[in-house]
């Protein structure tokens, strides 16, 4: 009897030990996340024009005041900017030159650091209209996007700012934010495809941007 009991318990033990994680992600893209949020006080339909820089900023974490930021390789940056442009145009927005008083700006940046931070210094964009200086920052009116730590992730951050609405503290209101986060692994073409898909998804889940 004891032998049969031990046999049954061993069988059940094996069942349990293999049962806690019956499945885990085995594809890189399974780790991809797309996050969006927006300011509830901003009327997107009352704004119709936008400007977009021709480069994607790399957030390196060690930029000094007055120093030019590093840019993402245009091979990838152009693809990101083009995808943002096509999504904005599809939603009925009109692109204008940065000096033509756009209603909003879209500022794309990438980070491969271990922390996603949407509170990085705004002087990363000091080279672009309206030429944010040292001491400026961001604020997110009516919502709080996440700042989380991880270990091997890369992120693409899209910030839609309202250049015509400087706050009393001189911070710039970010009225919409799109975040893509995932593993910086795999082939170049695979990563590009994931980024493209995620930009599309960010707009897809933000239908309130439609004009």
């Amino acid at each position: 009897m004891k032998r049969s009991a031990l046999g049954v318990s061993a069988l059940l033990g094996v069942t349990l030990l293999t049962g806690c994680y019956p499945d885990i992600p085995d594809q890189i893209e399974e780790y991809d996340l797309v996050y969006t949020n927006f300011s509830p006080s901003f009327d997107f339909k009352a704004h119709a024009t936008y400007s977009l820089p021709d480069s994607v900023v790399k957030l390196t974490g060690n930029l000094e005041q007055g120093e030019a930021p590093e840019m993402l390789n245009p091979l990838y940056g152009d693809q990101i900017i083009g995808r943002i442009r096509s999504n904005m145009n599809a939603y009925g927005w009109t692109e204008v030159a940065e000096g033509a008083d756009p209603d909003v700006l879209i500022l794309p940046s990438v980070s491969s650091s271990t922390t996603i931070s949407v509170w990085y210094p705004s002087y990363y964009w000091g080279w672009y209209y309206p030429y944010y200086g040292y001491g400026y920052g961001w604020y997110y009116p009516g919502y709080y996007p996440p700042s989380v730590s991880s270990y091997t992730s890369g992120s693409l951050i899209l910030q839609m700012t309202d250049p015509g609405d400087p706050s009393a503290t001189d911070d710039t209101p970010v009225v919409w934010i799109g975040l893509f986060n995932g593993l910086m692994e795999g082939s170049t073409s695979g990563l590009a495809a994931r980024v493209t898909k995620s930009i599309d998804q960010a707009f897809k889940q933000s239908e309130y941007l439609k004009q």
């Binding site: 049954v8 318990s9 033990g13 069942t15 030990l17 300011s39 889940q205």
Partner: protein
Amino acid sequence: MNKIILSLSLAGVVTVACHAQQNLTMLKYSIGFPMGDLQEDISKTSWRGVEGGYRYFADGNVAIGVDIGFQTFFERKEYDTYTINNASLTGIQYRYSWNTTMTGQVEWVLNEGADFRPFLGVGAGTMYAKRITDFGLYRFTQDPWQFLMKPEIGATYYMSGGTAIIVAAEYNAAFETKDMEGQSFLALTVGLVFGD
């Protein structure tokens, strides 16, 4: 940690010598069906569960004892968007729920002296409910202890040598805590009862 506790518990159950007719030990395989709030989180049936128990017959028809069980649930949620207020988050989720149950039981057993003995029981105790949600690179964990009631109905069929086959349906009714909704599930169990 759960595995260690469970292994020790199982070892303890198996090594208890049951030479008195009033004492029974049991070991059961369990299939779990999520109910209520657990079902909203994970809807798939669990085929990974085990339960051990001990019973002492206070008289020919009433038994008291304890049960310790472990049931794991899992479901992969496809690429989808989850919206809370203004925020939307899209990705694939892996959801795990590990439930360790510990109850004191009392049972009313019919057909004293017969091979086939149906029974009805109820128990109370606690459940350590650990819920893990893997969303992209991020993991969200909750692990409260919840009060547990466990009504059960089943039957044993005695074979030679004092060993019996047991089949039972048990409803693990877990109560909500401030951290998490009750993680209730129905368990269909089958196993062996050892006595003398």
